[in-house]
């Protein structure tokens, strides 16, 4: 396991080097950022990571603070702290060229937060089923975190999970319950710094992917009207778990996006 000290935390990072070297320039660097509470870099390591590496992309995956095998401090979970972690990580990895950020759900908000505060370090942002960190995002996060904090603390919720979804799923949610009980994450995230809803802080090209059945897809007109350079794709009959349910399609869409926004020529996806 690769843990490196980045900023104040030991962070778990995995890198997949490009399997082939692209022509005409260095391999583009993609940084994958996973979702909140139940997620870890494993979601990419066993899905998009290998496909991106095969396409000639330099892949960086890491566990967010408190998640996976990165350290879990008791406090310090405002979005800007996740953003500082990413900056410290890229510094430790000696990454100097602008990177393509790919964030799923909460990871999308981290990507937007980083792009807004470090525009010179970001080539593009891809956001899968996520939101820019504006006021409405704060209310959505507060709702989800408050529910997690109260409901997952109850024994009967976990028993219900076990009956409905099996022992494994119950264990996962029990772990989430401990995360929100034993740290200040549920209070910290709603206290995060936010960006203006005109999205003027976001200057890089943005690619947003949504599931058609997810309420988050309602952001499409706003994103397209506000951002200088924006592409959106809504995958029909899908909810929030587009990345898991439609892995191949998501991979193809994002590899193509990176290819278009990269100076070097990547290997054709097959």
């Amino acid at each position: 396991m690769s843990r490196i000290l980045a900023g104040e935390l030991k962070m778990h990072v995995q890198r997949m080097k490009p399997e082939v070297v692209p022509e005409g320039g260095p391999a583009p660097i993609v940084v994958f950022i996973h979702g909140l509470l139940i997620d870890s870099l494993a979601s990419y390591y066993f899905s998009l990571g290998p496909a991106f590496s095969a396409a000639g992309i330099d892949v960086i995956m890491y566990d967010l603070r408190g998640h996976g095998r990165t350290e879990r401090p008791e406090s310090g979970y405002r979005l800007e702290q996740f953003v500082s972690d990413l900056d410290a990580l890229l510094g430790e990895l000696d990454v100097t060229e602008p990177v393509h950020l790919v964030g799923n759900s909460f990871g999308g908000s981290v990507a937007f937060g980083y792009a807004a505060t470090h525009p010179e370090r970001v080539a593009t942002v891809t956001c899968i089923e996520g939101e820019p960190p504006v006021d409405s995002w704060i209310s959505n996060m507060k709702y989800i975190l408050d529910r997690a904090k109260t409901e997952l603390a109850q024994e009967e919720t976990i028993t219900w999970f076990a009956q409905e979804h099996g022992h494994h799923q119950a264990r996962v949610f029990q772990a989430v319950g401990q995360f929100v009980q034993k740290t200040t994450i549920a209070d910290d995230i709603p206290a995060s710094a936010r960006i203006e809803p005109d999205l003027s802080a976001l200057t890089c090209p943005v690619f947003a992917i949504f599931g058609g059945d997810s309420e988050l897809s309602e952001q499409v007109p706003w994103l397209e009207a506000s951002l200088a350079s924006c592409r959106t794709v809504v995958i029909p009959d899908q909810g929030h778990s587009v990345l898991v349910q439609k892995t191949a399609q998501t991979t193809e869409l994002i590899v193509e996006w990176v290819r278009e926004h990269s100076r070097s020529v990547l290997v054709e996806a097959n």
Partner: protein, 103 residues
């Protein structure tokens, strides 16, 4: 049934299972589950209670041990993320044995 007389012993199923079990025991030891029995039909999730992030660690150790011939990440990626939960030790052993013989 064919007998591959050229395959060295360490690439056979029994040897690979022993090797994988050894790596898993170190992982499980960290969780105080080191007395778990490990066989071909043992499930990573249901029986060993490993999470997908543990399989990332396992993947790294396999690469360290067997080299680039073993790409566990790509092996799982081909099967789909949701199948990780069903994965057995035997699935992994079969994959390693096949990869080493291709070698």
């Amino acid at each position: 049934m064919s007998i591959d007389t050229t395959a060295p012993e360490q690439t056979g199923e029994v040897a690979v299972l022993a090797e994988v079990s050894g790596i898993l025991r170190v992982l499980l030891d960290e969780y105080g589950l080191d007395d778990a029995e490990i066989a071909m039909d043992t499930k990573f999730h249901d029986d060993l209670e490993l999470e997908s992030i543990d399989l990332v660690g396992l993947s790294g150790q396999l690469r360290e041990h067997y080299g680039d011939k073993i790409n566990f990440a790509a092996f799982i990626a081909e099967r789909g993320l949701e199948e990780i939960i069903q994965l057995t030790v035997g699935d992994l052993v079969d994959y390693i044995v096949a990869s080493l013989r291709k070698g």
